[in-house]
């Protein structure tokens, strides 16, 4: 276990190092500078600004400074937002994104388990058909279309929830639903396939033969065994939520990371883009590591020694 963990940690750090390097040099490759629109500045002024941001040093020095700073959680200063440190910018915006992400994950996965489970139990009936149609719809409707529709019809027309902004809990409901669509559909389809598979296995036959009630069989055996592989889905779902948060936060004007990311992309705010890129990568890498470890603990059939699950 310790050896496995060390190996994983090594890869984790290698991955992050590679991402940091690639991001840095890609940003250096970009044509133009953040000052290319400021033609009124004199040469001396430009030099001064470059000096402040450390852009006058050779590229390899900038790279080392960037890496050293990043290890300490310092991503440099934002070009656009009044010279705020990127780390501060991210820290103030993280709570909203995390709250939305976690809420959406919980709502989506729970509903997905319920819907997928019911579909599997009532396989090949109209219930199954309806559930499949719902999950196909949710997979096929892009989160930004769903968000706009929710905002207009439920937020504005029906006036049930705030249209946009960030305040008390009611502000989070619409963005959460918009974000939860994709995890819901993915989970529902996954659970259905898993449950159908599990339901035809020998131990379910045995449980039935022993005279367990059908709820008992479903709850104690079928559902529990289908839930274990669900852990592997958490990584991809996290990626989905990141993608979704970019547009959903923008549409609902949520002061979160995703909204910030889009803003930085459109204003060429490179330090912030790099900072968010790194943050997303760290988040995903850590989530993947945790899910792999948890999976190994929960499912004794998976051997960690091989290092592959």
């Amino acid at each position: 276990m310790a050896k496995y963990l060390l190996k994983r940690l090594f890869y984790l750090i290698l991955t992050l190092f590679l991402i940091a390097t690639i991001t840095f040099f890609m940003m250096k490759l970009l044509p133009g500078t953040p000052l290319s629109n400021e033609s009124k500045l004199s040469h001396t002024q430009i030099q001064m600004i470059y000096h402040t941001y450390g852009l006058d040093k050779p590229v390899w020095q900038q790279y080392l400074i960037y890496l050293a700073g990043m290890v300490r959680g310092n991503f440099g200063l934002s070009f656009q937002f009044d010279n705020q440190p990127v780390s501060y910018l991210l820290a103030t915006r993280m709570p909203a994104s995390f709250q939305l992400g976690i809420q959406a994950m919980i709502v989506g996965v729970l509903l997905g388990i319920i819907v997928g489970g019911i579909a599997a139990i009532r396989r090949n009936t109209w219930v199954d058909g309806t559930m499949t149609v719902i999950s196909i719809l949710m997979i096929s409707i892009p989160s930004f279309v769903l968000a706009i529709l929710l905002q207009y019809y439920i937020g504005l027309k029906a006036g049930a929830f705030p249209v946009a902004g960030w305040g008390n809990f009611s502000y989070t409901i619409l963005p959460t639903i918009a974000l939860a669509g994709s995890p819901f559909a993915t989970t529902a389809r996954f659970i259905r396939t898993e449950m159908v598979d599990v339901m035809s296995s020998d131990y379910i036959e045995l449980a039935k033969a022993k005279g367990l009630t059908s709820t008992g069989v479903v709850y104690h055996h079928a559902l529990r065994n289908s839930l274990i592989p669900l852990i592997t889905l958490i990584g991809p779902l996290t990626v989905n939520l990141m993608t979704g948060s970019l547009v959903v936060e923008n549409i609902f004007a949520v002061p979160g990371i995703g909204e910030q990311f889009v803003k930085s992309i459109t204003t060429n705010d490179y330090p912030t883009i790099m900072g968010i890129t790194m943050m997303y990568s760290v988040l995903l890498v850590v989530v993947l590591l945790i899910t792999d470890i948890v999976y190994g603990i929960v499912d004794p059939r998976i051997r960690l020694q091989g290092g592959r699950s």
């Binding site: 970009l30 196909i136 706009i148 547009v247 883009i273």
Partner: protein, 340 residues
Amino acid sequence: MAENANVSNDAFEPLGKEEHLDNEKIAAPSLTFTQDAWRRLKKNKIAFISMWILLAILVLSLAGPLISPHQPNNAQPAYTNLPPKIPGVHIPGLDGTKAVDGGRVDAYQQQHVPSGKYWILGTDYLGRDLLSRIIAGTRVSLAVALIATLLDLTVGVGYGLISGWRGGRTDMIMQRIIEILSSVPNLVYMILLLVVMRGSLLSISLAIAISSWTTMARLIRAEALTLKSQEYILAARTLGESSWKIAWKHLIPNMSSVIIIQTMFTIPSAIFFEAFLSYIGIGIQPPTASLGTLISDGQKNFQFLPFQMWYPAVVLMVIMICFNLFADGLRDAFDPRSRE
């Protein structure tokens, strides 16, 4: 039972020698793999209908320049934001009227449009014909998806084949590379690449392909590993067939179902990402239309002219739904486990 025992011997007659030869005959025509899959796909009504809808959309979008009534990028400042109008149809929403303060006003009269002119799906904020733009946009979106999928296919299959076939050290290193690549959120690749390269048809396809080929490579490697130990591959090797030829003639044909299914799931996700990237403004650049840019443009006026977003959004959703249903059907058709 007792009754049966009373049947006299005359009731039986001896079989001729030739007749029982028929028992050995296989009545059903023997089907090749593709024929079998096709037969099973046809049984799946939903998937089959989806396939035809997709084909229709594809043909319509390809024939776009011939059938679209207007130039998709031709702005006419005098005729901006006109609602849909089909001559002879008097359904609110399709008769050139728009909702204003509870009532409906004929927008065509208000904007002094000559009586012969009409736009079936209305015009956008620059007076461009929405129908033509949707057709052109669908073509762009499908083109991006197809190029991305083709790239994904070539790189993914090639990489997976080499990794699985060579095995050993090569495989180990190639798999570590994939492991590292796939623990980066695909969003990060796409956005970095597009920030550096600026959105164009090719750069978007490249960005999508770069973030999705690892899944294909993994699947193909797993297939290659199992196929490698099959007898016919051993036979081919013993006969001195080159690795290249074995890959082409034996491995790829035997993996075709995996490849086709994975491809069918890649296309909708590529369509989604194209729309997504164009929606946040780093994908297809204006004035070129794509479903993403159309939705993003339409959203600005959604409160007053909802049709401007609804139409492109519906087209996008129909394409996505059909692809997903079709892919599901194909998977069932190809998957030997679902045979009953």
